[in-house]
Amino acid sequence: MAMLEKDVMLTLAEKTVETALIKGAAEAEAYVYEGQATSVGIERGQITKSNRITDRGLGIRVAVNRAVGFAYTNILDSQSAVEKAVINALSAARASKPDADWNGLPEKRGYATAEKTFDARIAELHPEELVNLAAVMLDAATNADKRVLPVEGGAAAGYVTNAIVNSNGISGFDKGTMSECSLAAVAKEGNRVTPICFEFNAERSFNLDAEWVGKETARLAASALKTEPIETKNTKLILTQFALQELLYYTLINAVKADNVQRGQSAFKGKIGAQVASENITIIDDGLFAGGLRTATFDGEGTPRQKNLLIEKGILRSFLYDNYAAKKEGKASTGNAARAGYLSTPSIETTNFHLSPSPTATEELLSEVDDGLLVYYLQGAHSSNPVSGEFSVVATPAWKIRKGEIAHCSRGVMLAGNIFEAIKNVTAVAGNERKMGQLIAPWILVENVKVIGK
């Protein structure tokens, strides 16, 4: 399938909205999506496969008597299939119950430009370029250390285009590209096998450092071979972006979503203006961060993306809203409605959750730790208590820091605590910020976390 043109997508969305209004919708919104991802895959030390997934479809949301219905279809070349989707959305709304808090679809607002989100090279990429990238990464890893076995990984590139039209006059089109290479490896020596160590590089443009990914994955895996147990006590932790992303996603990020606040499902309810974190913590959810992995012109409802200051030097300033949650409080949406392609209705999600870095070098951060742990990968963060923020996770592996230097690796280290306490104990943040999914953050230093050794 060739890429759908802007005009084709917008016209389809407009016609769908029109059809819905004619068939009895009080309001209607159509979202047209197309995405293509091409990848080559590494399995057990060699490149064994290639994939191309092309997906497109249409999601339609309607309101009838303040009851909302949604339907989707991926059959776009048939007018009757699109009409059937409209009828399904209407019948879903009619089968549903009126919602007193439904105050209409969003209104039209001007868009700012999303910068550095599209690279024409990706749209025209030849799969062989991905094979080359994967080969560079693989060679870098295996040449760095013979004990390292790359288990899986690969290189991928793709594009996403979407168009949104609603009956309040919103009409938007956006396109973006993404590329990524990643590698997971273990190191083996005698009977010893390390846990999986992982690195990656993801960008909106086709500028990837595959060699660094390969070398760094190998370095991490090899350094995990030599392990020693550690004792149970309260200690300092340096959390890398991997650990932060896991811990924050299921707890803190949950707490700043307005729907959770409204439902009493957030530890931050009623705490705007209060000190909720150490003064080292400033977080901006920045939907327009240049080149950000979640940057776009508008959100899943056609509301412009924007910058939202969430926590300023530890003080809670605001929450994230979609149109529904915002109107419930008489506010404006912050542009945080997300969609899973055409398959889902919008729901509140972070864009680029940006934890501000400091000028501190990572060596300096390490030198502040006399006795502590450097934490990369966590297991079990998804079993945290999403409301209270209590977590009990395993670090596999973690590296012991002694007098500011990495001493050895340790396995199966359990960390237990409460994220809302932990963010009050962040005594320093570094300057090494990087993009990882929705997170843009540097390493942070947290004091006094319970570590359970063996």
């Binding site: 399938m1 091409t38 080559v40 057990r44 060699q46 490149i47 064994t48 496969k49 290639s50 191309r52 997934i53 092309t54 997906d55 497109r56 909302v68 219905g69 949604f70 339907a71 989707y72 279809t73 991926n74 059959i75 070349d77 299939a81 399904n88 019948s91 089968a95 549903s96 119950k97 919602d99 799969p127 094979v131 080969a135 076995l149 288990v151 273990v186 096998v193 846990p195 439902r263 009493g264 499902q265 889902s344 209705t345 297991q379 079990g380 079993s383 208590n385 409301v387 209270s388 209590e390 009990s392 996770v393 395993v394 199966g412 359990m414 237990a416 605590g417 409460n418 319970k450 359970i452």
Partner: protein
């Protein structure tokens, strides 16, 4: 549809020199609902169709999927997949081979008592709302609840260049219920999932009232619970926790692709890695279970696969590629979430076989320990480190179940822990769930209650 697929398969073999071609098509209908407290978020109805094709060219996989059955798009996809495979094969050292399997021609129709696609949307919404009402009515400290519902019906088609032609109906009904309670600054959280491949009659057996009360009462009960002590303790694990342990801590290691990737099981076939009490299966044949089906997405018949017998590793879960590497029969574990993605090795219904102890006998002799009844989530690493978060737990004091404990989690090394299983109960239950491995698969896991001599318990106290 089978004819369309056959033509594409022929094109891959004749025009592009594919050694093997596998074409899958799907037509799916989905209904999804979310009710939060007493509010219906959008009720959703979806229709999707598409085709996936996988080819082996010069010993390398090429895969393409398109959400369309348009001829031009499909012809292009065949060419894409074959050309990409050829480009990739330039760096291949060991060409991929597939284990032999019988070709199959079959049409699998399912006739549910109550087909969810024939139930009115109004009735499904009504059921979710009444469930929500039950939960919020249990106790005034129950502050919120979310009811998610999904049903999926449709047909899968499979054609291979070897001659397999399968048409297979699909049906899943699933619901997840979560609720939270709040009191004096303490937040608690509880979850339950149900799911079946039978039909909407699932809700006749698992009545809404029972599920709702169970979820809400657990959230309330935890309000008075205390955090566990950290350290190593003897524990009794409930069937639900045994299930997630079998699935996460052991099951993933027994997936042949992960075993080959440096997992701890590859070198342990035929060796004793667990106590005599431990027998594990991955069973795709369990009637109506959420992880059951007749043929996998490579056309291999499903089966009841023995993984561990009395502590000895008996087998792994295979697709045709790993079966060839191990020189064994494929076990029917190749599953794809939908037409968008390739089949990979996935679990089905994975469980521990029951033995002969009563619950009381399991508790006997534990002076200080924990009873972990129900899990919140679990995860494992290829080196055998596992973590399971617990949503319902109690102290065990002098052989008796004591006070509730909240936010506990357990961790350890899988093989070390399997040797410490010293008794298993005579009870048995399967629990439906969804497993993530890049794709989502519907599965069950379960077993009896068991006793473990020592696991590391993470806690705040």
């Amino acid at each position: 549809m089978i004819d369309v697929l056959k033509k594409l398969s022929d094109a891959a073999v004749q025009n592009f020199g594919a050694e093997y071609a596998e074409l899958r098509a799907q037509r799916l209908n989905k209904t999804m609902l979310t009710v939060k407290e007493n509010r219906v978020e959008a009720a959703k109805q979806g229709i999707e169709e598409g085709i996936a094709l996988r080819v082996l060219v010069d010993g390398t996989w090429g895969f393409a999927s398109v959400g369309s059955i348009d001829t031009a798009a499909l012809t292009r996809a065949v060419s894409d997949a074959c050309r990409m495979a050829k480009a990739t094969s330039s760096r291949l050292k060991a060409p991929i081979k597939l284990a032999e399997t019988k070709t199959i021609e079959d049409c699998v129709q399912i006739k549910p008592k109550e087909n969810p696609s024939e139930i009115n949307l109004e009735d499904k919404i009504g059921a979710a709302l009444s469930l929500s009402k039950v939960i919020l009515g249990v106790d005034k400290r129950v502050k919120s609840c979310t009811v998610d519902y999904l049903d999926l019906t449709g047909t899968n088609y499979l054609v291979t260049s070897e001659g397999t032609r399968i048409t297979q109906d699909k049906l899943y009904v699933w619901s997840r219920v979560t609720s939270s309670a709040v009191s004096k600054g303490v937040f608690t959280f509880s979850r339950e999932e149900i799911g079946s491949t039978a039909g909407y009659e699932l809700f006749d057996a698992e009545t809404l009232e029972r599920i709702g009360e169970k979820v809400a009462k657990r959230a309330v009960e935890q309000l008075r619970a205390k955090p566990p002590k950290g350290g190593v303790f003897p524990v009794v694990l409930g069937s639900n926790v045994v299930g997630v342990f079998v699935h996460e801590a052991f099951g993933h290691l027994a997936e042949a692709d992960l075993a080959l990737s440096g997992g701890v099981l590859a070198n342990n076939l035929g060796k004793k890695i667990a106590s005599d009490k431990v027998t594990f299966y991955d069973d795709g044949t369990a009637k109506d279970a959420f992880g059951s089906f007749k043929y996998d997405d490579e056309g291999v018949p499903t089966q009841k696969t023995l993984l561990i017998k009395d502590g000895i590793v008996a087998g792994l879960m295979h697709n045709r590629e790993t079966a060839a590497k191990f020189n064994v029969e494929p076990t029917g574990n190749a599953r794809a979430e939908d037409f968008r993605v390739e089949p990979i090795i996935r679990m089905r219904n994975t469980y521990m076989a029951p033995r002969d102890h009563s619950f009381e006998e399991l508790l006997e002799g534990i002076r200080e320990g924990y009873y972990f009844k129900s899990f919140r989530g679990g995860q494992a690493n290829i080196d055998g480190t596992f973590q399971v978060g617990i949503q319902e737990a109690y102290e065990i004091v002098k052989g008796e179940v004591g006070e509730p404990v909240r936010n506990a989690s357990i961790s350890g090394n899988t093989l070390e822990t399997l040797f410490k299983v010293d008794a298993a109960g005579k009870d048995f239950q399967l629990w439906p769930g969804r497993c993530g491995k890049g794709q989502t698969a519907f599965v069950c896991d379960g077993g009896p209650h068991i006793r473990v001599r020592g696991v590391t318990v993470g806690g705040n106290a």
